[in-house]
Amino acid sequence: MRTIRFDILLLLPLAIFTLAFLVLPLVHLSLTAAQGDRGIGAFVAILTNARYRDSLIATLLLAVVTTFTTLVVATIAAQTIANRRFFGRQLFLSFMALPLAFPGVVVAFFIILLGGRLGLVGAISRTLTGSPTVFAYSIVGLFLGYFYFSVPRVLLTVLAAAEKLDPALVEAGRSLGAGPLAIQRDIVLPALFPALYAGGALCFATAMGAFGTAFTLATVVDVMPMLIYTEFTLATNATMAAALSIALGLITRAALALARTEAFRDAAAI
């Protein structure tokens, strides 16, 4: 069959590239993790060693809190923007989407401009109370950075779903006497659920793997990707770095698997 040969040729570049630069590195990563002094013990150490375990817990908590906050804010903002025509709407939406292309390092710098030593919030609080508020290098700064790069992605996903929501349903609920909270619970949230689910999973996965923001803010809290980096470069502990990489990859992969729906595709294509 000539078309089979054609299909194979179509896939050949992808197959070669994936084999050489994805499959082979992952195999090497697994071997490095398992071949250390402790063998499989490297994976056990993630849970028994306090430093690794604390990092895992902090990363998970940060990702969960970021995801939850982002979903709540995005749901409120999406309903406010959806079906509302105003001057410059297109430009407004473009500005909301801009942070999609900002690397984590730039987002971290933005947080420093807000809450760093020369930051805006610090300057305002100094004139008001006499002492500047500095939050950029704490867990608050880290959270705000994660929130900054998460919101646009989720907002666009939820907005697309909110615009498909039939306004007549909401009106019907209102005329039957339902309050705003009841309308959210019974009409809006069920309709937005697929988008929230897909956007939330993607948001969680991105937050788990984010590196640039934590790197630039250099907070006291070591998130997992930072730990991988420091283990490899500063502690030259390739075994542990590889084990942490695989553990982090598996957690993220599992989160994305939860969102393996049609809706997920829309969310992933920027």
């Binding site: 896939l11 992808l14 590195p25 090497h28 804010v73 919101v151 997992m224 993220t252 992933a268």
Partner: protein, 268 residues
């Protein structure tokens, strides 16, 4: 949710939350731009405006900008050659094959950047010439951006009725290759273009892989930014950020308007 004359607290709360969100997203951008153009940020804009910092950034970091643009173009070429044909095959075949390709392609999204970079370094660190060249960075970028190109092209292929046009070209006897180049490719151009813009913006802004893959000779723009944030004065770091924004925002706006245009064309 259309015109409403009666006041509701939920509407007011929604507008307030949205306004605060916009402020939170936009304020740092304006702070960064004004800091990059101010003579002395600590003394405020009253001290005057200057292009001095932008000039210094050019002297110190011009090489990182040129390299980032080169890497982005090479990454785009790579994703076009690898991604576009590979998107067509699973759509043609469907079933098992499309699931396998989807799985492989979504892996780099699931595996965090530092982990992917670590795998590449462990595997190819011994090959000095490759490890120390810009090609090593490009490989990482292709790996990371390929899913975005393929998602865009596959979504496009699923929207257009490629099979009908392909079949109608097949009956006069056009071969599979001719049909691919003359019928399928011209029809999926908007999808390829959207994918290309996404790939270029992501590549220019890529840090997570690049930071671990780079050598002193292969610094990209975001790597230089991290450098500047750690060691340079605030005005210079801001000016560098400004240059980055000037580079990336036009591409992103094109992407946004393009996406809206094709959405209108293909869903209505």
């Amino acid at each position: 949710m259309l015109l409403r004359s009666d006041f509701r607290w939920s509407t007011a709360a929604g507008v307030l939350v949205t306004a605060l969100l916009v402020l939170f997203l936009v304020l740092p951008m304006t702070l960064s731009i004004s800091a990059g153009l101010s003579v002395n940020y600590a003394r405020g804009l009253g001290a005057g405006l200057t292009l001095r910092w932008v000039g210094e950034v050019w002297v110190l970091y011009a090489d990182t900008m040129v390299r980032s643009l080169l890497v982005a173009v090479a990454t785009l070429a790579g994703t076009l050659v690898i991604g576009v044909p590979a998107s067509y095959a699973p759509v043609r075949r469907g079933g098992q094959l499309s699931r396998i390709v989807e799985e492989i392609v979504s892996l780099p999204v699931a595996i965090p950047g530092p982990a992917l970079a670590l795998g590449l370094i462990i595997t190819y660190g011994g090959y000095g010439a490759f490890r120390q060249s810009t090609v090593f960075i490009i490989v990482g970028h292709v790996l990371f951006t390929l899913p975005f190109m393929m998602r865009s092209v596959i979504a496009m292929l699923e929207t257009i009725d490629w099979r009908t046009s392909d079949d109608s070209a097949a009956s006069p006897g056009a071969g599979v290759w001719r049909r691919f180049f003359d019928v399928v490719l011209p029809n999926i151009r908007p999808g390829v273009l959207a994918g290309a813009l996404a790939v270029v913006t992501l590549s220019i802004g890529e840090f997570n892989l690049s930071w671990m893959l780079h050598t002193p000779m292969t610094k990209t723009l975001p790597v230089g930014l991290a450098d500047a944030y750690a060691s340079m004065r605030l005005e210079l770091a801001s000016a560098y950020t400004l240059v980055f924004l000037l580079l990336i925002v036009p591409i992103l706006l094109t992407l946004q308007f393009g996406a809206n245009f094709s959405e209108r064309r293909f869903t209505s």
